[in-house]
Symmetry: D2
Subunit: 361 residues, 4 copies
């Protein structure tokens, strides 16, 4: 592993500090969809975040039951969580000042339904972080929450659309080359994901017996819902509108994404020059690590962390870029990035509450 | 799943028949490296093959011990296997007429060493199937054992080099397009493999704890040992010399490969036309199945079978081919293909002893 | 591994022979619940059975669709299966002479419902093999289908209740000691099972993410549905009514059961004497293998086979028996044992269509 | 899950606090065997412990290389670890005042060898925590580090033998009943463990392909090295010398132990009374949680935490106790318990640096 040190000007705080910051604002957060994998992960991260107070866990399934059942592994003796409430109770809680931030880990489309049913929640005063794909094209003034690309717009934003797991990996794999104007052709991306990426609703296709011991390609080509999001981000980085094809695959593991992007280069580039560009671009990023030449991303190294590992080379005589990335789809690909965005929205150190080390087993 | 029926002219026999063929020759086979994963698999397949008699299991580790320990799961009450012998004993056995066919599942380089030490084995009379990469470039007159491409040369051949697991998947994914002259640019291949592909010798990198629950890219670019073999096969199919880049990945499963190849096309091709080409080309192939449009390969479907599932589409306005394949690296990627080659060498029905159905769990 | 040879008088046929037996009757079988894990496995075993013809696959979910979707991995080009039909169509098919044997892999209670709705099926002419627990106490004249204990009653039987997976392992672990009158106290059984034992209906508790990487005890004590069945079989073997406690566990694997039973002995027994009793009792059994002292059962060795591996010792100064067993819950614990029973019902060699070797990976 | 609250008198600190304690002593720790699974885990836990400073990582394999390779997943940009040194360098470092505490995660026997070679380390001044089984019988004045049983002796101790993983689970499963004098017969224990329990040295028996998808019993009876340790602890708790039989099993997962103990009771006990005894005994224990009746331990709930979940019932008319436990073999079964012991040795809050919540996936 390369061991780049953060440059002198890096503004990020170190990993979660011991000691609550004096005078820090506190976010009073309601989590929608708290029993799903991303929702649970956000709750877990919140437990060690110095500025986040969970004031509502919203789950239709667990409403009226104890929070203990909602988060497997949590020891209810050691943490006091609010009892889960039904989505219908949210507007009243808002009116009563029960929360100031809404983190929605609902399936696509469900937040809009909720807001339609409870219009009081559509308040400009309410800070909203939406993990679904509903606002990722900038609908309703939402900022696209990829800090490494759009940090300035996120500082102080009140409505943020959290990127998808695959699009985060794709964007971080290609960002330096895209910004540098190197890309000169359509992009082909293949990736493999752990099963938690398919959500927690029971289905035959996510049953243990159907998946253990095997891997599968699914929805390959240009039909996966994440393709437009990938293309949109690349368009913003390059100023052009690249074509994107995508071959997603399911691997028999709970978490993690490994992604490979290949694209023709405008001019031949030596592998070392590609590496140097990436090192330079990501030098100040706490949550992106560029691997040394000859090292390649693996999901284990970033498991349960908010870090994305990136490695790059060129092939075909330098005319094709191979850019790779690994991240934890539930952390940097979902709940962790949401927390990173929340830190930016509130002016907190970007790393608060977020592990940078991976826990490989 | 599509259900293509074999065309009227298909010459292949049905899957393993009940009933030993009258008057068939019998191959008396010595298996070198019988305790490795590919060697074991060849022994298992031999148990139901109507023409193969195992006369020697060669394993330095198990020599002098019982065959029972060599093949986990085998019930020694139900099958009579010869006791394992040391490699040093092979020449004497050959001199005594103990075998007529040598199937070598030794690591790369080891067969050459053995032949150097026991020159009597370098006989033109001895039928040899080498599963290592030593003879895959045609060294010493070996025929490259990819039946779907080079069937005519395999009929009656005495020395055959069995293809690698990744190269078999790559070749079958690209063969129809390559033969049709469609390929017009460098090829980028990504694939993921189960762990048995790394062999059976104990190593930290193949230990359970190091692998369970994660996936990793390794040796990406142009450095993997299989890259020249992939390029060589494509060169024979196209008449040109394509550049190949390769991104291999390890997934936490014992068996199986899923592979994706992307390459620029000479002329834009509609997805349905690509599919039609593949269906037509593979119509008579017992061990290649072309999936219906919208279906994609998975390792479970071909687990423990000699079948390779293939699916194809085009993207980027028809200018890029996406060709995918799944196979079992120990069967169609190793021992099964060796058996298929042996069937061809001896003029037997190509499907003898070889499962075409996968056993998904 | 010990290598006991079958005694001279062993009447069992060798493992699946090449060559269809001359003049053998053919069973024309309808499979109820063909899309579940046990149903699928029975269909797979039928494909190589010389006497079984599948004439109906009954599945509410797959009725009207092709058989290809019902059996993942099957290559529809290579096998002709009847198209799935709905349960409602069964009586008409019976009236038309469409089948003579009904193998029911429906959930508990469902076969009775079906028979109530279609009374014509309740014919004494119809051979029935019920894999559910509905008839395991001998209801409606059903014979309990544990061949190793009740072979004589199974020969020629028309209605057979197939034992449960855990009860089969428990019975085979304890049978020799129970028959010998050695047991002198309550029995405590712990076992771990692969996830296919929980059936194929999607549920959160059988989802991949909820299970991968962990193990759990469930329904421990005396409440598991299999406890009465275990006690009943022991009662038949001993003439007494032993108390049974059971601690089942789920392990993150698709198939397999490993079971440990402990029970006080009437008189102290040396480990070697316990082993000798088991060897002697099981000497003629094709599908039970007694492991050598110091070897212990593992699910890998019996994976996809109909064999049960058994090992035994005594502890606590010879006063406690430790009896262990491993089997594949879908084969010897379900579909394979059903086939074994069908072989007995029809007077065929007991081993027809049934693998005795395990396929460990 | 039951939600027992700690009783008013509970003296333990809450889970890892924010804020380094004022004036706390700091332990300067050398970790022996830092590249093994337990050693790595201790290093990881140390990173968030407010009183531990790692001053030496000792690893023959990694000496002279960077610490980054030693701990997969660690981001070297975010943490400064000392470069690994060879064991031979330890005495000189001790002489130079480089550490005051030695945590040894070496294999059994290796610490004694080291001390024989470097006698200066055998100093009464040096605090030693030995994770091997070498000192668990109290050799050389070592205290047995099971805090829930022997807390008083651990406060201020300088030499502590950390219990084995299985023996910790067995002791915590039986402790309340043993102390209460309920046990009246030999004990039979079955357990299943994740693969990390077998250590990190590469071996065929811990290779991925050999283990994935299967489970196995091994060394059953009275021969496992942990049997005497289990018996010894029970003897100390009961004053008698119980016989112990043990059936260990390997399950295909990286971490976790689930254990079941059964033993005859002196007098019949109702299940609720057994539960009540356990609840009462463990009420003040931060790292033991008694599950509600009807709930049973699972490894997922305690994954990566230092907590042990315990559940108990009685069967056979109340005459047999069934006591179960789950823990993470690398945390409460090794490195976490070592940290808990270190906290006690130094008078720190027992929970410092130790997660109580499990991370299930």
């Amino acid at each position: 592993m390369s061991a780049p040190t953060l440059p002198p000007g890096a503004v990020l705080a170190p990993a979660p500090a011991n000691g609550t910051p004096k005078g820090a604002r506190t976010a009073r957060v309601a989590v929608l969809g708290a029993s799903g994998y991303a929702g649970q992960e956000f709750v877990r991260l919140s437990l060690t975040h110095p500025g986040v107070t969970l004031t509502a866990l919203v789950s239709r399934e667990f409403a009226g039951r104890s929070a203990a059942g909602l988060l497997p592994g949590l020891d209810a003796r050691a943490v006091k969580l609010p009892d889960p409430i039904a989505p219908e109770a949210l507007a009243a809680l808002w009116a009563a000042g029960g929360f100031d931030t809404l983190v929605s880990a609902l399936p696509h489309g469900a937040l809009a339904e909720l807001l339609a049913e409870q219009p009081a929640l559509a308040s400009a005063e309410l800070r909203v972080l939406d993990l679904s794909q509903d606002h990722r094209a900038g609908e309703a003034g939402y900022v696209y929450g990829l800090p490494e690309a759009f940090r300035a717009q996120l500082a102080g934003a009140t409505h943020v659309a959290n990127p998808g797991c695959y699009p985060t990996a794709a964007a971080l794999a290609l960002l330096p080359a895209a910004e540098a104007g190197w890309l000169a052709g359509p992009v082909t991306i293949s990736a493999l994901s752990g099963i938690s990426g398919a959500g927690r609703a029971p289905a035959l296709r996510t049953s243990f017996v159907e998946l253990d011991g095997g891997a599968a390609i699914y929805r390959a080509g240009e039909s996966h819902a994440h393709v437009p999001e990938m293309a949109r981000t690349l368009a913003r980085l390059t100023g052009a509108a690249p074509e994107v094809a995508f071959v997603p695959q399911m691997a028999p593991m709970a978490r993690g994404i490994v992604l490979t992007a290949s694209v023709a280069l405008a001019e031949p580039v030596a592998p070392d020059d590609a590496h140097a560009l990436y090192e330079q671009r990501y030098a100040g990023e706490w949550f992106v690590r560029v691997l040394a030449p000859g090292e390649w991303p693996e999901t284990r190294a970033v498991r349960a962390s908010n870090r994305c590992d990136v490695a790059v080379t060129t092939v075909h005589g330098g005319r094709t870029l191979i850019a790779t990335a690994a991240l934890d789809n539930l952390v940097k690909g979902a709940a962790g990035q949401a927390m990173q965005n929340l830190n930016l929205m509130l002016g907190w150190p970007e790393s608060w509450g977020l592990p940078v080390h991976g826990n490989p087993w």
